[in-house]
Symmetry: C2
């Protein structure tokens, strides 16, 4: 397996760091629009793991917005797999570049949605991933695999869905991804500051788009942003967090392969963050269409959302100033294998102190990065195989969760996941 | 009098429109960085008032950030007065350009402040107008007048202060400028939208800088933003509005010429706007220092605050979609001329429907523009005269308020102002 990793931002960097402890691949080419970022990641691997491990890494320059650039870099390095680790706005060009290069493809977020122009908060328009699924036949015909949505959420949450269907439930009422954290970022004086632990660009996209819900007898439909607030109790000391509906890939992926009556995604944003997102929207600062702004060099065209992202600290740099844990998981209700009602929460918790000490990566990006590395290993070893455009829940979940939980000394990733039975 | 008007934005445009009904000047050169804006203003005057009036107007291009450009345009047109109608960040260059051109100068906002680096919310640093008052000797030596802070607030509020001291009070406890409105802006579907009726750039500057307060036995000092909230009851149907301390020129001007124990400025921002300003600050979007942002044309450097301003509707364009009134005034407490306690609110209300119908200008910018035109007329007729750097309260208030209130048919501006005695 020769992997072209596109993007050496927070998640891309953590993918390289996690993969550096594994042996399932021949080469990882870390590429970025800014070659210095890619080189920094490779230098970290060399410093931490020595020259032998680093000899399986290379740095390259790439333009993720240009399919031809992706194809060229993939071909140049003989990439068998293209791992997309940049923002979802580049999904389509990387996806096309990988296919053109004859490589398999993985991402952690799917092609973007567009709201219905008439009834955005009732009907779906172009859905998340639609543009990728529209190309499914091309991938099948080429015998190549596009494994889409293979981060933590989507990704691990989808693996949990398949696991619940195969091993825990005879009938599923709801597959509800629930994400929450108790992370706090402090400035040099120890004061709490506002600094999102994940790309604000993506967070705005997710949170201000109309949330999508799937119901078996209704199909996909949308609601206004921040709908159906609920307080969800997260495990491992995180506790109750206010969650709201958010547009997310799981709702588009799970119903394609797992039988359930309802599929939802709720994000534990908390009240402060919800207020901030509403204000950004009110002030049109969430817009991605460039506007004309004066500058010392004359008028320039910038997207307000890019300015919001640039004004905040880079999430990848927050690790040292952050404390707390983040939890990704799937809440499942329905009928257990024994025919009685069942309610479980399947989850994985990532503790920032641990990820910083072990990987110098903050916990949210590290947790996102962990899962595609496990998936790549399952593909490299042939445990997972297939062609076409597929979600994580289309593969057997058991070997994934086994490899994830097994101790590192035993060849696994040493990452325990939890199962909480909620009907006592 | 030959006036160089610098800036054809909302307030500059309204100054030209108000002046077009008067005869005290020989020429008004409307200038702007964007000459099309200046030409649009002159074209409006021609269309509304005919060629004879328009023959006393000219349009020109100017770079307000460059004192040499201001001087050159002023000299070219033989300007006797330079009227600054752009954002306060250009005060220093226009102020210097006017003096270099041998012209008198007026503005509606003073040179910017800089917080104390150590104790920003307790001590003043560089104060509003300090850079202008530092040049007072140069203006006196040249025999030229710089009339600073001559809009509505500062401006009319300062005129009220002088009037209160001369005609209403024997001793003043507090001169408290209080500004409030009940303006609502709607979109094409009739829904209320967030759209500040005054430059967001200036509003951020005013509201997020440490508010300054003056006390006779303490001098100038500062507090944290949004301090001392109070609900002030505004006249003419506006009613109660939550007001907070805001950094404003009156507090720097009034104590120099009017005897009082305390001078404050409170702005009726309302809770929603306060929340928005706090969020902008939290996200560093109030910053004026350029940051590096990606764009289709490669990385660019823009100031986040300029982006916030560019993303919002231009306040000058809001008139047709706005309803309501804005009130500017001065609340004065102390001892009346008869020796008994007195509390008055001196005010002027501007109704958007009226200003739109009469001037095609929204009420907040129109109200700001009215006062420098009256001041220019008093200077043109010699009723006000002087040299040096001076505030409105250094001149006799009575002729100003008289000219303002007198009917248009009688040679006045037909703008009634109110006096409310608040101790029944």
């Amino acid at each position: 397996m020769r992997i072209l990793l596109v993007g050496a931002g927070g998640v891309g960097d953590a993918i390289a760091k996690i993969a550096a402890r594994r042996n399932f691949y021949e080469l990882i080419v870390v590429s970025d629009y800014d070659p210095a970022r890619a080189e920094r990641t490779v230098a970290w691997v060399a410093a931490r793991h020595g020259d032998e491990v680093a000899s399986r890494f290379a740095a390259a320059s790439i333009d993720a917005s240009d399919a031809a650039s992706v194809e060229a870099v993939a071909r140049e390095h003989g990439a068998t797999h293209v791992m997309n680790a940049v923002e979802p706005k580049f999904v389509q060009t990387i996806f096309a570049g990988a296919l053109a290069a004859g490589a398999d493809y993985l991402d952690m977020a799917m092609s973007l949605s567009e709201p219905d122009p008439e009834m955005p908060y009732e009907k779906t328009g172009l859905k998340l991933g639609d543009e990728q699924f529209d190309a499914a036949e091309d991938w099948e015909a080429a015998g190549r695999l596009a494994l889409v949505g293979m981060g933590v959420e989507p990704g691990l949450s989808d693996v949990f869905a398949r696991y619940a269907a195969d091993h825990l439930f005879s009938e599923i009422d709801e597959l509800g991804t629930r994400d929450g954290a108790n992370l706090v970022v402090r400035d040099d004086d120890g004061n709490e500051i506002f600094a999102p632990s994940f790309s604000i660009w993506t967070t705005i996209e997710e949170c201000l788009n109309p949330p999508v819900i799937w119901e078996k007898d209704r199909g996909w439909y949308t609601t206004p942003p921040f709908s159906e607030p609920e307080v969800f109790d997260f495990p491992d000391g995180i506790g109750p967090v206010e969650c709201v509906n958010v547009e997310h890939e799981e709702v588009l992926l799970m119903p394609r392969w797992v039988d359930a009556k309802r599929v939802t995604f709720k994000y534990g944003l908390g009240n402060e963050f919800i207020g901030i997102l509403k204000t950004l929207h009110q002030l049109h600062l969430d817009e991605v269409k460039p506007i004309r702004v004066r500058s010392a060099a004359g008028p320039v065209e910038v997207a307000p959302r890019d300015v919001v992202a640039a004004a905040l600290p880079d999430p990848a740099t927050l690790g040292p100033r952050m404390t707390g844990k983040t939890c990704a998981g799937l809440w499942v209700t329905g009928t257990g294998k024994d025919g009685s009602p069942r309610e479980v929460y399947l989850y994985h918790v990532s503790d920032n102190e641990w990820t910083m000490a072990e990987y110098e990566a903050q916990c949210v990006v590290w947790q996102t990065a962990l899962n595609p590395v496990i998936a790549l290993e399952l593909l490299a070893t042939g445990v997972w195989q297939g062609a076409g455009v597929r979600g994580p829940e289309s593969f057997d979940a058991a070997p994934f969760l086994e490899l994830m939980a097994k101790a590192e000394s035993d060849g696994g990733y040493g990452q325990a996941w939890g199962l909480e039975d909620r009907l006592a």
